[in-house]
Amino acid sequence: MNSYHLDHLQYLETEAVHVMREVAAEFERPALLFSGGKDSICMLRLAEKAFRPSDIPMPLLNIETGHEFPELIEFRDRRAKELGAKLIVRTVEDVLARGLATASPGEVSRNRLQIPALLGAIEEFRFDCCIGGARRDEEKARAKERFFSFRDGFGQWDPKNQRPEIWNLYNARLNPGENMRVFPLSNWTEMDVWEYIRREKLEVPSIYFSHERECFRRGGQWLPIPPPHSNNGHPDPYAGARPKPNEKRAKLIVRVRTIADMISTGTIESRADSVDDIIAEIAAARVTERGSRADDKVNEAAMEDRKKAGYF
């Protein structure tokens, strides 16, 4: 290799920075989706690389399901503050309270209900573009998605009719009411994300590292036991997500590999307590990252269906 050659992380970085700058230049009112998870942590660093010494020219947006790990919320708020970025939070709770959406009978996961909350935020702030941290290696439907993913007036993705995306020329043109989702990390793998976190010395929420936690066994996974219900007169937000008497409970040394919210994130038993350990663990892993996501196990096209309806 000569000195005018980029290694894989440098290549992925310059590609992502280019995409972020295209967003800043081509859209009127973009937002950057930031959950505090590992992918969005990389995105914030890429935004710094793209826009410093200026401020990041767009607000951060997070859609809370109401079932978040408290460690993640704390990290999210602190990180936004450190960066001097504006953080907008909208919640599924609010969408339910205002009657803009209803949970199906027995529906415990708030995953589907994030869709109306996200679309509501897009309408409220008239966002024309949301930058998301989705990666193509996560899931089969995502493997088909463009960097610039066009959504119609209902926020829908039409996978059979995507705009061709050629070279690094991204077509960002929209008609009123339409929207773009942009994914700078499209070409990153789980391993790339962790190697980048290591190279950039990025802080990640503590739940990625091994810790002791009360879990229960359901659907072949160890799920975290939700925090106790405060009996504040409201119905238990975790109803249905609490262990049943016949489900096995255990105190385990675990970490999370991918974070959705508390009821759709399976934990893995692990002693990895540094980024180096995590990288070694992934290198030896025999299941994919989303193998521990309950929300993708519904059926083979679960993600495709959610994306068509306007999911991230």
Partner: protein, 439 residues
């Protein structure tokens, strides 16, 4: 736990193309499976779908055919991207559709590739789709090509058949200007010569497919001649707390060609103003030099007017500047291209209006000749056109620089991306108004 070594590796991007049922998706499945890049839950999911739809046999193609309609019809509709790694390299794979109606998606998958694999069914030999895909790979100037002659098990591993098909290709390859073409006899279904050398082809002395992917030289695939920085975004901090940043004015973009060094003389086009590079600003600290395709922010010595869509260039290898353009285009939309229609044209970081002034020819994939007098270009046609733009473009020929020699056309109203364009070399270089512009 042992910590993996911090050895940087590079990325090879490749795409697979070929006709429907030539086994593209099976080949990618095989590469992932044999190089141990498949995980248990993926194999389980494959086995689950095999029980339902495959009569018990694992279908490796289900790995990449991710959309419901694709699994139903058993074909690939859109580009699926896959990622895998070996100790030598990381790979980004674009599995591109074979069906004629999805040729535009093949262009999408191939435009960023270092290497293309064209699959051919050994029983059928060269068919129109093989010619079309090889031609598109050559049009897009993909630096490396592999012709994988698949399903060799179905022709009894016949060397004669292999040579026959190779000869069919070599008959037309000289007309396509491809520099690096390799041929390999494989069976994607059984894995022969994909990752492991096959005992059934003692007559084949070349590398396995993966062996070739791991070792092909891609170091010179980026253009390092003639500095080009299409300005993407002007970086001007608002109310900076750091007093040194009050006058900061940087020009951000991805280097689209060549190198730039601090102190170097540069020109801003189209204005023609000249300055020197004061600083190459990056988040990781100032750099002495930068090269293609790094993303950087340039600070110039002089306070001159620069905005998005301008191009900052070096003094060597001047680009062309013209509003009369000559290009090859791949047409990607069901509504045909017609003379006299107006489109938006996006080139580097600017979008201008353009009108098609002439359709000079349409490529016949049977002969590779450009046939004159085409009244229009239909979906999946490739042709030569002339365009007039509302303002001059600063550009290079596509053969010299893929990033400054390419454009897309966008239909007004629907905003659909309707064409991928590759510019012929400029007939005239930019004429700097200042005569002292030299190193």
């Amino acid at each position: 736990m042992p910590v993996p070594a911090h050895h940087p590796v590079d990325i090879l991007r490749f795409n697979t193309c070929g006709s429907v049922d030539d086994g593209k998706s099976t080949l990618i499945g095989r590469l992932l499976y044999d190089s141990k890049n498949l995980m248990e839950d993926q194999i389980e999911a494959l086995e689950r779908s095999a029980d339902i739809t495959g009569g018990g046999q694992i279908n490796l193609a289900n790995l990449t055919d991710g959309l419901r309609a694709e699994r139903e019809q058993g074909i690939t509709i859109d580009v699926a991207y896959r990622y895998f790694a070996t100790p030598k390299r990381k790979f980004i794979v674009a599995d591109t559709p074979g069906h004629v109606q999805y040729t535009r998606n093949m262009v999408t998958g191939a435009s960023t590739a270092n290497l293309s694999i064209v699959l051919v069914d050994a029983r059928q030999g060269v068919i129109e789709q093989s010619r079309r895909h090889t031609c598109i790979a050559s049009l897009l100037r993909i630096p490396h090509l592999v012709i994988a002659i698949n399903k060799m098990d179905l022709v009894d591993w016949s060397e004669e058949r292999f040579i026959e098909i190779r000869d069919q290709f070599e008959e037309f390859l000289p007309r396509l200007d491809m520099k690096d073409v390799k041929f390999a006899p494989i069976s994607a279904l059984n894995g022969d010569n994909v990752v492991e050398p096959s005992p059934k082809t003692p007559w084949y002395t070349g590398p396995t497919l993966l062996g070739h992917l791991e070792s092909v030289h891609i170091g010179s695939d980026w253009n390092l001649n003639g500095f080009r920085l299409p300005v993407q975004w002007v970086n001007r901090p608002n109310n900076p707390t750091d007093a040194r940043l009050h006058d900061f004015r940087g020009f951000s973009g991805q280097v689209a060609g060549g190198l730039v060094k601090v102190g170097q003389k540069v020109m801003v086009l189209p204005s023609g103003q000249i300055s020197r590079v004061k600083e190459i600003w990056t988040y990781d600290g100032p750099q002495k030099e930068a090269f293609c395709p790094q993303s950087i922010t340039l600070v110039l010595e002089d306070d001159i007017d620069v905005s998005r869509g301008d191009m900052i260039i070096g003094a060597d290898n001047l680009p062309g500047a013209s509003s009369d353009l000559h290009a090859k285009v791949c047409w990607m939309h069901p509504r045909p291209l017609q003379r006299g229609r107006k489109y938006f044209l996006k080139h580097t970081t600017q979008t201008v209006q353009a009108v098609v002034t002439a359709i000079e020819g349409r490529i016949n994939f049977a002969t590779f000749e450009s046939e004159p007098d085409a009244p229009e270009l239909a979906l999946n046609d490739v042709g030569e056109i002339r365009l007039k733009t509302a303002k001059p473009l600063i550009y290079d020929g596509y053969a010299t620089n893929r990033l400054t020699g390419s454009f897309i056309l966008i239909e007004q109203g629907t905003n659909a991306t309707v064409a991928a364009g590759m510019l012929f070399p400029p007939t005239e270089a930019v004429k700097p108004e200042y005569t002292d512009f030299s190193i």
